[in-house]
Amino acid sequence: MLTVRIIPCLDLHEGKVVKGTHFRNLKVIGDPVQLARHYEAQGADELILLDISATIEGRKTMRVVLERIASEVFIPITAGGGIASLEDMQAVLLAGADKITMCTAALNQPALIEEGAKRFGSQCIVISIDAKRHADTWYAYTHSGKRCSGKPVLEWARECEQLGAGELLINSIDRDGTAQGYDTELIRAVAEVVSIPVIASSGGAHPEHALAAVRAGADAVLLASALHTGKYTVADFKWYLAEAGIPVRPVSSDRKMRT
């Protein structure tokens, strides 16, 4: 049985993992390679690396970090932040990412999804959707949640799937940084209209939040602060999900190799 994935997210800024809401109050969490190793040992099923500076310099730094992580941490890695062309995709894939993620560029240029999927395979293309609620529906935002694209999220999600996206990463602008749990209504709505995996993001701070997201239809949950603060480990989340009958990859099976 396919297991639910727990995915730590590392936001990169000047070569360090940082945490803050929309560039405000950036706090350095630590070294990305060390953290990647640390989370892998805890049982992380994948990692997401985001260059939040989204500058040319930042992307270069991210590639160096990616190369270092990919040569010693052997779980799937998704990389993103400022990716806006096939060349950008290729650069991060060559540096060691298994998948790329885009948000703004995909909305501005939906053909990029199709071209990326054709060239690198759908499994490489993770589309990130920043959703904000307007009355009884959600709209997709660009530029780190600053601008409304005018496109309803559910429509955009279906379009991404048709264009060849392999997975969707669903962020809730309303919940980001609130620690109030994932927007399960949003997750449920998206999971109902697409048949590609949905990764829940934003607001997940406790294991019960992860369980709620999974019950709403998420195939994976993204975690940042809950892990970065040391409040929980990946294993805590897995233990909680397993107790509730959700299949997870056991953490212990990772440590059998004799060294």
């Binding site: 297991t3 052997f74 779980i75």
Partner: protein, 235 residues
């Protein structure tokens, strides 16, 4: 026997007259080649890319056929690059081989993905499309091992990372080494036939479970070569 007890093998193989295990990775334009290279290097192997029939003449202890992409496309690529016959010879000679993902599917007779295209045809069986709600399968799934495929896989159940929309329906039951369930089907996720090992999942992306499997295969490939060198020297 000491070789497996002593941890990873560069040292133990040295005793048999070799420094490092050399692995050839078939490069026919498929995507996930570098992650395989990274994992094998991490485990101490020397890695070279096999891009033509000439490259297959090099001294290589084991061959890896990776792959992401369509069945028919891969067959054409391998044929156009002159690698097809070399691959078949390698497999027929029972030399150490590891097929990953599409590299496993290519060992079969045919695939629903590309009707009319013949595979390498070394294992009797066909490749079928999943009829699950979510296709492809993406994520970690359980492999129940019914055969020991490497010295380290003696456990009964392990989790590995999968990305695939098609699966192998194997007609040679004694070849099936591991079984996985997805979308209502139980399918062969690992095959073992002589020195040929093939897996549907990505060991290079499956954490320690995957590295352990790769290490076992590497040691076997290295020791097979070292042993045949030794026999040749004695003769």
């Amino acid at each position: 026997m000491m070789a497996f007890e002593a941890g990873y093998s560069p040292r133990s193989i040295e005793g048999l007259g070799r420094q490092r295990t050399v692995i050839g990775i078939v490069d026919y334009g498929a995507g996930n080649l570098w992650s395989v290279v990274r994992a094998l290097r991490y485990l101490g192997a020397e890695v070279c890319l096999i891009r033509s029939a000439d490259d297959l003449q090099q001294k290589v202890d084991g061959l890896v056929l990776p792959g992401v992409g369509a069945f028919g496309w891969a067959v054409r690529q391998l044929q156009q690059r002159g690698l097809w016959n070399g691959l078949q010879n390698w497999l027929n000679a029972q030399r150490p081989f590891l097929g990953i993902c599409l590299g496993m599917q290519l060992l079969m007779e045919t695939s629903e993905e590309s009707p009319g295209v013949r595979g390498l045809d070394v294992v009797r069986g066909v490749v079928r499309k999943f009829r699950a709600r979510k296709v492809p399968q993406i994520g970690w799934n359980r492999v129940s091992f019914i055969q020991t495929i490497t010295p380290y896989s003696a456990g009964s159940v392990e989790y590995f990372y999968f990305v695939h929309g098609y699966y192998v329906e194997c007609m040679e039951f004694d070849v099936v080494a591991g079984v996985t369930e997805y979308g209502g089907v139980r399918y062969a996720s690992a095959l073992r036939k002589g020195r040929m090992l093939a897996v549907q999942f990505h060991p290079e992306k499956s954490g320690w479970a995957g590295l352990t499997l790769l290490r076992g295969w590497l040691e076997e490939a290295g020791n097979v070569q070292a042993l045949s060198n030794k026999i040749a020297a004695v003769r």
